[in-house]
């Protein structure tokens, strides 16, 4: 017997996880088509496809934010991790250089985090990772022309929350399979360990940027008209 209602969990995901506009029309289309002749598997494929397409569209539209997150999580921090030892040993000699180092030391914690993450101790450095995350959002927010403290704080809070959940799941998986994975994957695992941080920073950027929700965008357009 064919069910007349699509899976509630899939509908919930469609309602809450698809980024961009036109959600109402899309949800109506899928419901109409499902009730006509489609299977539950088709509905799930459509929902997952819509989530992916919405995300890809947002990434394309907000390429500068996405680029910043990639640079921050995978580029800048990782490069510094490898450069730092040589920097301290060979470059820092004169008084101006020491001054620069003193300034840099204010961010040394961030770099320290990165070094620890790269060296595979991600699960012990929760606080440091959060600091790294927050610093990224501070730099990002400073570059937004219409800076809003409320948006910034929301970005930080959402980022921290997402990272907390991810860190818990990550820790759970590591606890179950970590040792075996470590042996198999080796060095690559340290890079894979960046993923939770990357997702958290990316989410924070999305929250911190102007008009991050449809309701806000609507309010803004109403205000203009």
């Amino acid at each position: 017997m064919k069910v007349s209602q699509p899976p509630a969990s899939a509908s919930w995901l469609l309602e809450h996880l698809v980024l961009g506009e036109k959600n109402e029309a899309l949800a109506g289309d899928l419901l109409e088509e499902f009730q006509r002749r489609r299977s539950v598997a088709w509905y799930w494929r459509q929902v997952l496809g819509a989530i992916f397409a919405g995300f890809a569209n947002e990434m394309r539209a907000e390429w500068s934010s996405a680029g910043y997150v990639v640079a921050w999580t995978f580029g800048f921090a990782a490069i510094w991790t490898f450069v730092a030892p040589y920097f301290w040993e060979y470059v820092v000699r004169s008084a101006p250089q020491r001054l620069f180092v003193w300034l840099a030391e204010n961010h040394a914690l961030v770099f320290l985090i990165v070094q620890r993450v790269i060296s595979g101790r991600v699960l012990d450095d929760y606080g440091s990772n959060l600091l790294f995350l927050s610093t990224g959002i501070i730099f990002y927010s400073a570059g937004i022309r219409s800076f809003s403290l409320r948006r910034f704080l929301r970005g930080v809070l959402v980022g921290l929350l997402i990272f907390a959940v991810e860190d818990f799941v990550f820790g759970f998986v590591m606890g179950l399979y970590g040792l075996a994975l470590w042996r198999f994957i080796g060095f690559c695992w340290t890079w894979f360990s960046w993923l939770p941080l990357f997702i958290a920073v990316l989410s924070s950027m999305w929250m911190a940027r102007p008009h991050w929700t449809r309701s806000e965008a609507r309010q803004s357009s109403r205000a203009i008209s």
């Binding site: 036109k22 109506g28 992916f52 539209a61």
Partner: protein, 111 residues
């Protein structure tokens, strides 16, 4: 000099589907049209994402219909090409025809 909005493969397919369907062009018929002629399943979400992008470029315009009970009280969103969109499709067609001409590999209808 006007800036050309270069069309991707899927963007072009969506715009051609809009032309083929005419007035009743919303998410589901557009997906069906592409599936029927493109020979692959299409995610309705991808169609909407593409339409959103085309609308931002000014190549497509949309309007809301009335909500209906079989859609859970949600309205359909109808799409149509703008005059600029139609011009871009024509230009893309001409460019593709020029590129296809004189290629022996594509003659005879076999891969």
């Amino acid at each position: 000099m006007t800036t050309r909005a270069y069309l991707g493969e899927f963007e072009l397919m969506v715009m051609l589907a809009l032309l083929r369907i005419g007035e009743n062009a919303y998410g589901v018929p557009i997906s069906r049209e592409i599936e029927a002629h493109g020979g692959r399943e299409v995610a309705v979400g991808s169609v909407y994402a593409t339409l959103e992008r085309l609308e931002q470029k000014g190549l497509v315009a949309s309007s809301l219909g009335d909500p209906t009970p079989e859609r859970g009280g949600r309205a359909k969103r109808y799409f149509q090409l703008t005059p600029r969109g139609l011009r871009e499709v024509r230009k893309t067609r001409q460019a593709l025809i020029r590129l296809w001409q004189g290629l022996p590999e594509l003659e005879g209808g076999r891969a």
